[in-house]
């Protein structure tokens, strides 16, 4: 044990004893910024290189981009593809929009998961752990963006969704889709920096962009951010999701649980005793039936 390690160990132990370990850990957490991706839909040309790169990296179905005419209809991510690009015809011409997991700041799927199989990593990506998952699919129920997809035709189904290439991030690389993008539509980095870039673009080209950054506040804020030339409703985005983080919706209920768990037994025991007293007082009126307290 060198001197540095000695200091760290003894400081940690001391902090634990003093009960300040949590705040220590919290302050360390704050240093880690969540990362995300900025998607500027005005730059996308619909080449779908991201779809191919994603599927190759994650071992999913690789689309035949040149021949499959997939842009003809609006698609969704599936249990075979983590990301898809869609084409929308708008007043400002054709717009291409990439779709994948938004990596919410406070994700509904993570809050709903009873075994932490859905996990918000400290770097920002939301990932799924098959060794824990029960396959209850409540992540799919909760997700406001309908992103998690189940493999219904497998005896051992996985929940399939974008991982923001978590393994690549740990190796110091960018997500595969970002790296594959030939037009700088996609930009990877800490959300704080991406927000600055996004705001700069919107403010300096007010005629080019709508004054909204999708993902800044949606569902409490997401890791993926979108810029657009046309209102987001026209690009298949839901704009009615609200700005509160989804776990907030169950908070009230969860807070009341300990109240009920301890309040109700107290009340019931009290009632039990009270009803006993009543019976004593009424003892003359009705004789106790033969059934012994069963």
């Amino acid at each position: 044990m060198d001197r540095r390690q000695f200091f760290v160990t003894s400081a940690t132990a001391g902090a634990a004893v003093l009960g300040i370990k949590r705040s220590h850990a919290a302050s360390e957490k704050e240093k880690q910024e969540f990362v995300g991706v900025l998607c500027d839909t005005t730059r996308c040309i619909g080449c779908r290189s991201c779809e191919v790169a994603c599927s190759v990296t994650n071992g999913n179905y690789v689309p035949d981009v040149k021949n499959d005419n997939a842009l003809e209809k609006v698609r969704d991510t599936s249990d075979k593809q983590y990301t898809v690009v869609n084409r929308f015809k708008t007043a400002k011409g054709e717009v291409f929009v990439k779709r994948q997991c938004m990596h919410c700041w406070q994700a509904a799927c993570v809050a709903m998961c009873l075994v932490n199989a859905m996990h918000k990593n400290k770097e920002g990506p939301v990932t799924w752990d098959g060794d824990k998952c029960l396959g209850c699919r409540f992540c799919m129920v909760s997700c406001p963006f309908d992103i998690p997809k189940a493999e219904y035709h497998s005896w051992n189904p996985r929940i399939m969704k974008c991982t923001m290439c978590y393994e690549r991030l740990q190796a110091g690389k960018k997500p595969a889709c970002v790296e594959a993008c030939p037009t700088d539509t996609l930009m990877f980095g800490p959300k704080r920096e991406l927000m600055e870039i996004a705001r700069h673009r919107v403010y300096s080209h007010p005629d080019k962009y709508v004054r909204k950054i999708y993902g800044e506040h949606e569902a409490g804020g997401t890791g993926w951010l979108y810029l657009s030339a046309v209102p987001f409703e026209q690009l298949g985005f839901r704009t009615d999701l609200g700005t509160s983080p989804y776990p907030e919706y169950t908070k009230q209920f969860l807070v009341s649980v300990p109240l009920i768990l301890f309040g109700v037994p107290a009340l019931l025991l009290g009632l039990h005793e009270l009803s006993d007293r009543k019976e004593e007082l009424k003892a003359g009126e009705w004789a106790k039936p033969e059934a012994e307290n069963e």
């Binding site: 009873l114 799919m140 129920v141 909760s142 219904y152 035709h153 999701l241 209920f253 039990h272 012994e292």
Partner: protein, 398 residues
Amino acid sequence: MNNTAVATSEFSRVFRFVLQELKPRGKWLTPFNVISIPVILAGLVILYFRFVYGLGSVTNLNQYYPLGIWIGFDVVTGVALAGGAYVITFVVYVMRMEKYHSIVRVTVLNGLLAYIFYAGALTLDLGRPWHIINPVIGNSFGYNSVLFLVSWHFLLYMITMAVEFSPVVAEWAKLEKVRKFLTRLTLGAVIFGITLSILHQSGLGALFLMAKPKIHPLWYSEFIPILFFVSSIYAGLSMIVFEGTISHKVFKNLIGGHDGHQYEEIILGLAKGAAITMFVYYFFQALLFVHEKRWELITDFWGYWYLLEVIGLVLIPCCMFAYAVRHRKIGLIKVASVLALLGIVLNRLNVTVIAFRWYDVSKYYPSWEEIVVTLMVVFTEIWVFRWIVTRMPVFEKK
């Protein structure tokens, strides 16, 4: 003879007794058997495909409707209908209303079996059911998850109800000492059980709180948990009336020449309770309706559908209960209880399946396989129920 020898001989006696009791009794070719046996066999075949080729091979579930009737009906509705157990144990053991003592055993048995089979049906729906132990063994507690809470409460409540029912089993196996010991646990189990019931009945509603953008605003409110809890009270009471009516027809010889008047009094009391709780529930719905300004929502199909549920299957049976209690009309109470139960089924299915993603053009409809498996679960439960009541002292003895 030493203690071990006594215990061993006692154990082998009970073992032989149970073996002997396992044999079927009575006629085989009853109408119920003729219908249920093929359904159960077909259900087993379907389950083979389900576990080998995946949920998609037998269900109509898709990426947008991850929950079908196996959850919406079997689990969510089944648990609401099993609410009678906690209501009746509250009335009898906490409030000590001896009038209802005679229906405690059968109600608790019904509740226990409902949880074992309907909550158990959950395992059929889980993609990876072999991981079901994960939330219990604690390698990964999702403390912030409503589902984590509900799953623990299911488990604990099943144990609690088993404790509540256990004296009957001990009596059947003629284990007098064990019975006396188990009887002493009843009050604690009852109080724990009521608390757990309040939490998981409402918790089932809380599971859908995060599906806010997906549930039609007439069915979504932040008060779903309270609505689920209050409605489970009258669901349980109506179920006792409904189930009692059938039991009195089918198990006439077991219930025997019992006091018709006393039974009538019980039914009237249950109906009174149902009428009051239904009115509270209706009032709450009305309040939400006004408070959330839902007027403009009732002019389309979903509005009528909502009115059918809240007026047709809550307010009307509520008035029927009240009228029937006042005029002592047992027949009307039975009709009202059926309507109330339909209302519960409709409400739970609306939240979980029907009004879920109401805007979607391709709706989910259960496949015939899903319906057969659901019927299989119900029929198997009835088989077990019948086996128990024909052997153990469940109905009041006369």
